[in-house]
Symmetry: C2
Subunit: 209 residues, 2 copies
């Protein structure tokens, strides 16, 4: 199990500080979508350069031009690139081609996929590495959390590994670990913690090796 | 009717050159998704500064954190921001809030929306400015084009205006103009033309004023 920290709302300087503070607890540094919208591949390049042992995930949430857009992320130093589960099959297949060419990995973000079991089965046959259930930030206030979706995905995947994102916090991580996921994505719970190092270490402590 | 040129594959210098060459023909300069992935808001800021009379569309294809991500685009100088039709209602509503706060506009990209008529009716009630039918780049090779989808959208919208994107070229623009759309998005047909100024002028010539 790996702990991924989603860097969405911090400046690049703050991200670097956070990754210094959480060394040993965080395996994957996610350059979040708003961060990419604002800065492009600059944070991907910079984090990859400064933390060569940390995997960088570019949360590009690709919806079209899969191979072309993924190429840009991998060329900037990303190890993992995200594509949306609601995109065309051809788009996901393009991202998979790009990943193969760059020795990188593909995470499919299942945000707002309606028939989750059926779409997961389809995507599981496409050679992607991770299928990530994801409760959108914009609906987390309504009390939704990703555990039930994780159970659905875990039941039907044969090739890919599962990942989980969307409001994961200290109080919910144990249930997720019990259900099982290769990657657990944590954003605000670490980024907004008073003591980020302690919070990351505590959350990492729940994960199975 | 407005002509929008999608800038996806050119460098910033080439984009500026293109916008110089096509002055008077192009009303909206789209900073395309791959361009944003690579450079963030840099091209939005730069094009807005150099061409104050051209509207800049940031094709962020927002899927979550609608208000937060749209804020970044409008603050950089975008006049129009895109959000995906396949996203949660709450996300589209967040982009609409951001647009109202910044005196900007919202375009919903209907790429890979399955029940187009139903979803268009829902989105049409949310206060968005444009609903854009869009044949994904990744499926254009299969011969799909956006005209049939444009007819479906035009039939059901009452508030928003329609827009159309995806492989539009000189041979197909007349049928689109006949069907009617407020914004016609052209990418490769202008960007890859030998004489970009001539092509843009010729395409603009088809549009109704």
């Amino acid at each position: 199990m790996k702990l991924q920290v989603a860097l969405d709302t911090l400046s690049l300087e703050e991200c670097i500080q956070l990754l210094e503070q959480t060394k040993g607890s965080v395996e994957i540094a996610e350059v979040g979508t708003p961060f990419i919208i604002e800065e492009g591949m600059v944070p991907v390049k910079e984090i990859h350069k400064r933390f060569p042992k940390v995997e960088v995930l570019a949360d590009a949430k690709i919806m079209d031009a899969g191979e072309f857009e993924a190429d840009k992320c991998f060329e900037a130093g990303a190890s993992i690139v995200t594509v949306l589960g609601v995109s065309h099959d051809e788009t996901i297949q393009g991202v998979v081609r790009s990943a193969k060419n760059h020795n990188g990995k593909v995470m499919v973000d299942m945000i707002n996929v309606h028939d989750l079991a059926t779409r997961t089965k389809e995507i599981d046959e496409m050679g992607v590495d991770y299928i990530c259930v994801h409760t959108a930030f914009d609906v987390q206030q309504s009390g939704q959390d990703p555990l039930e979706e994780l159970k659905i995905v875990n039941k039907v995947i044969n090739h890919a590994k599962s990942a989980v994102a969307g409001g994961v916090k200290l109080e919910t991580i144990q249930d997720i670990v019990n259900e099982g996921a290769e990657i657990i994505v944590v954003g605000g719970a670490i980024c907004n913690a008073k003591n980020r190092a302690k919070m990351a270490k505590e959350m990492k402590g729940y994960l199975k090796s």
